[in-house]
Amino acid sequence: MATIARGVPVTVLPRPRATTGWWSWVTTVDHKRIGVLYGVTAFIFFLIGGVEALLIRLQLAVPNNHLLNPELYNQLFTMHGTTMIFLVVMPLSVAFFNIAVPLQIGARDVAFPRLNALSYWIFVTGGILLNLGWLMGAAPNGGWFGYAPNTERAFNPGPGIDFWALGLLVLGTASMAGAFNFIVTILNLRAPGMSFMRMPVFTWMTLVVSFLIIFAFPVITVALIQLVFDRHFGTNFFISSAGGDALLWQHLFWIFGHPEVYILILPAMGVVSEVLPVFSRKPLFGYAVVVYSGIAIAFVSYGVWAHHMFTTGLGPIADAVFVTTTMAVAVPTGVKIFNWIATLWGGSIDFKTPLLMALGFVSMFIIGGLSGVTHAVAPSDWQQTDTYYVVAHFHYVLFGGAIFGLFAGIYYWWPKMTGRLLDERLGKWHFWLMLIGFNLTFAPMHWLGLNGMPRRYFTYQAGMGWDFWNLVATIGAFVIAASILVFMYNAGMSLRRGALAGNDPWDGRTLEWAIPSPPPPYNFAVIPTVRGRDAWWLEKYGRGARTRAQAPASTAQQSSHNPHGTEEAHDIHMPDPSYYPVITALGLTLFAAGFIFGWWLSGIGLLLMLFGIYAWCFEPISG
């Protein structure tokens, strides 16, 4: 360890020591605290993106409305989409990677704790950069897909697109750094006996998503660099008069964009694959097939991008190929759904809030999946594209899917992270309000879309047959908002005086439930030895017991006995906190911001980043 630091340690700032207080959160490298930071930050962005959605719905509630002007409307739908994808669903998923993965594989931390902190701080500063446009009255307005040449300076001279492009470049760095870290963590830090086919499905999906990220984000990085070069250095990548091709942007964006869809949904699928077995008291049906389906979805996701471009005139052969590959995605996805249903079948089902959220995921995702198959067919897509039918589809998979799945994760792992339970009654209120509000909002959009209502228009004429369902959708959006308020109240109450959770409130199956809630900094006093799939369930009930009812009384009593994490472990050395991740992250973001605010800022950012990196490399392992 730390051989560069051997002899006289090269140290600029003393290594921070605080374990409590404000600074301890800024400098922490503990995966659990970073997970909490990710979760809280993503939730704040969720509220911002939610307010943006409510404003959009208010504007569309009645025809000929002038609550918002068209320019502000463009900014709102652009920032709503960009925020929900890059600042909510992705980081909320990463929050669970951080919270659950090291615990599930029996590790004490991730492979690179400081790199983990760096990912978080780049995410925060990048998210702020992306949102700075609001303060300057020039938020991004080119849609989350930022089609060039519409986003070129000639058509979009303000700094909005620069905030968008540079913010996403910075955020991409955070995602990739996190993905590298989790790939190495999962491949390298598994406890003895934790073979690949014994890994919990959530850990599997984290691995798959991390590979998707490291192979998808370089492509959007190149596209964004080309756009930024066009806007700032006068290059011709997407300048039509110089021969630049608008389709190049679309190809690059969607080669990233479609894997990105699975980057958003696979973590939620992983959560659901954890929650359903626990609350059905049965092992996951067809574990291996669920894992392989996740991998298959990831592979196929790189071969479907042009289904976003059916109306660009790619020709019948290209269209036919992408129709076929797109429909092929339905196969592994359908396999997963059948396995989830079969997991429930014959189980002794406990309808706690995490399970309700997971069931919400499965049912809503089926609807979204089916509408997805309808616009996999090119002629059908030509009718549906750019209408509210598509808006309905992707909200059924990304809200009905990802958000329900992630809320299942919040309710499921909340006791592990806080040591306290969330209130079940309030949880059920949250679930039912959200389910009803969600369907009120988005189901009518199917009919609006098929009736020809176009996306991205800031208002519509009366008497088109769209008035009633638009009002219903707006009411539904506020029902969703109410459900989120119920959740926030529940969370606040739980933190103050929630019932104590104990180590294993759900009678869990995976290793995170073997240790105290919240876990000690070192997680496991003794690194566990894994004897099979559902490692903690095996410890508790032995190999013969598939369900609790079958567990012999003698072994069932072991559930009160805890072989891991009870003994005090004073000699376990965890890495110290560090200032350098936050310094390096700030440097990177200032460097990017310099494209908008002036090169002097890029210079400062570059110096700060270099200082952070060098001090990081020569930082002794402990002060």
């Binding site: 400081r114 934790m194 290059t235 110089a242 690194i527 050395h573 930082e619």
Partner: protein, 201 residues
């Protein structure tokens, strides 16, 4: 690239890895896999826009193949010296390590310097990044490759200085090996770029 310089930092102590591969080595391999997609996208952009410029100068009017072949050869030779640097630290030869690290950085610098000279000449012949699609895609692709080489030179010089300070003992040969992985990757990418951009008629 900072991790190539940070032996064991960040890794949780005394935890043997499941694959038997060092964390940092695995990190570098995954990074290089990802970087393939980065260069892949830049190269594809260049190939798609090949011959699509609406005005000159065009590649055949600009390129000086013998000149660039020499600088490509220099870069390839730096892979040889990189291997020699790793062999030196593995047999505990600190002097050899420093000589070959410096030689690798020097060859890399000759390549980057050659690229700077080439760019300057091209600009004098009217090829700027703004003038046409060829200029746009050529400078972006080769510029990002040059930036990668520059980062590699900074890593090599940092390792050289670390060795001078006596902080790079033979037990840390892995750090040199990982820096070498990056260096060889950047060389291989140049072979692809050189073939597709300069040699393809």
């Amino acid at each position: 690239m900072e991790h190539a310089l940070a032996p064991g930092h960040g890794a949780v102590a005394a935890h043997p890895t499941s694959t038997g591969l060092d964390h940092r080595k695995l990190l570098m391999w995954t990074f290089l896999g990802s970087d393939c997609l980065f260069f892949g996208s830049l190269i594809m952009t260049y190939m798609i826009y090949r011959g699509k410029s609406v005005t000159g100068p065009h590649p055949h009017e600009i390129f000086n193949i013998p000149y660039t072949s020499v600088s490509a050869f220099v870069l390839l030779m730096s892979s040889l010296t990189m291997v020699l640097a790793l062999a030196a630290i593995q047999r505990g030869d600190q002097r050899g390590l420093r000589v070959w690290l410096l030689a690798t950085a020097l060859l890399g610098s000759v390549f980057v310097g050659g690229q700077y000279f080439e760019f300057t000449t091209f600009v004098q012949h009217g090829l700027t990044p703004q003038v046409n699609l060829f200029g746009t895609t050529f400078y972006t692709l080769t510029g990002f490759h040059g930036a990668h080489v520059t980062v590699g030179i900074i890593i090599l010089l940092s390792l050289f200085l670390t060795s001078l300070l006596g902080r790079l003992p033979p037990s840390e040969s892995l750090t040199v090996e990982i820096a070498g992985l990056y260096w060889h990757f950047v060389d291989v990418v140049w072979i692809v770029i050189f073939t597709l951009v300069y040699l393809l008629p």
